[in-house]
């Protein structure tokens, strides 16, 4: 049975993500087909001023799914979006956070959650949004 939708202002439990390793970036490149050398080549990352290869933005965005679904397993992610605004480097810890900014009851119930992923930089690495809707009967 579905719980009541959360109120505006409800925060997701803050979620710490262990750093991604170079081997994990390689594994993600292989499965996703995103073989942009910037994510895999330490020397190339260094040439553009980064201390290590940056984690794929999509890898960061994907981590929100588990955080959202473990917070509210009765809701389904209907929309997920993100802007990749700062690099998070391999071996850098990541924190996910989020807050409910819109709640709609009635015929098309849903919530809108504003999301952020932060690495070591002060500014967020990913600023995103998710729309969650009650799961239908399986």
């Amino acid at each position: 049975m579905s719980q009541a939708l959360p109120a505006i202002g409800t925060r997701l439990p803050q979620c710490a993500i262990a750093p991604f390793t170079g081997a994990e970036l390689s594994a993600y490149a292989e499965i996703s087909g995103d073989t942009n050398p910037l994510h895999l080549d330490m020397a190339l990352a260094g040439k553009i001023g980064l201390a290590a290869p940056p984690v794929h933005g999509m890898l960061l965005l994907a981590t929100f799914e588990s955080a959202l679904q473990e917070w509210r397993p009765d809701l389904r992610i209907e929309r997920l979006s993100g802007r990749f605004t700062q690099p998070v480097l391999e071996e850098e810890a990541i924190t996910l956070s989020g807050r409910v900014v819109r709640v709609r009851e009635g015929e098309a119930p849903h919530i809108l959650v504003r999301l952020m992923a932060n690495g070591a930089a002060r500014e967020p690495a990913v600023v995103g949004e998710a729309v969650l809707v009650p799961r239908g009967p399986d």
């Binding site: 993600y28 995103d34 981590t63 990749f84």
Partner: protein, 125 residues
């Protein structure tokens, strides 16, 4: 550059590939992960079109969205069509993907924004 239409391509939600995706991303759960369809943009026809448009510039992933009309099912086949467009100011490549069931019902729209930067370094081929 005029818009370039690619596909439709047959794409699948194979359990084995999704298991590998879950392992690489640490995304827990069952079913098809929300962001899994980005892997379909890795197919050679789409990558070649992106590389041709980059013309030596480095594509930096600037933004991404997934907008579901209905969830995808495991072990199913879908049709993916892609519209690729280049913007001049700032230099950017926009990929809009639309995934439909084989019966033509819309499942998913996804959009990828790639900022094109001219690196000060020579990129590996």
């Amino acid at each position: 550059m005029p818009e370039l239409r690619l596909g439709p391509f047959a794409v699948q939600t194979e359990r084995t590939r999704i298991a590998a995706y879950r392992s690489a991303t640490r995304v827990r759960g069952t079913g098809v992960p929300v962001a899994f369809p980005i892997c379909w943009f890795g197919r050679s026809e789409i990558r070649t079109a992106i590389e041709d448009t980059c013309r030596g510039r480095l594509p930096l992933h600037e933004g991404q969205s997934f907008d579901y009309a209905r969830p995808l099912e495991l072990e199913a086949e879908y049709h993916l069509s892609v519209l690729l467009a280049e913007e001049a100011d700032p230099p950017r490549l926009v990929l809009k993907g639309e995934c439909q069931t084989l019966a033509g019902e819309l499942c998913l729209r996804m959009e990828t924004l790639l900022r094109l930067v001219s690196p000060a370094v020579e990129l590996p081929a």
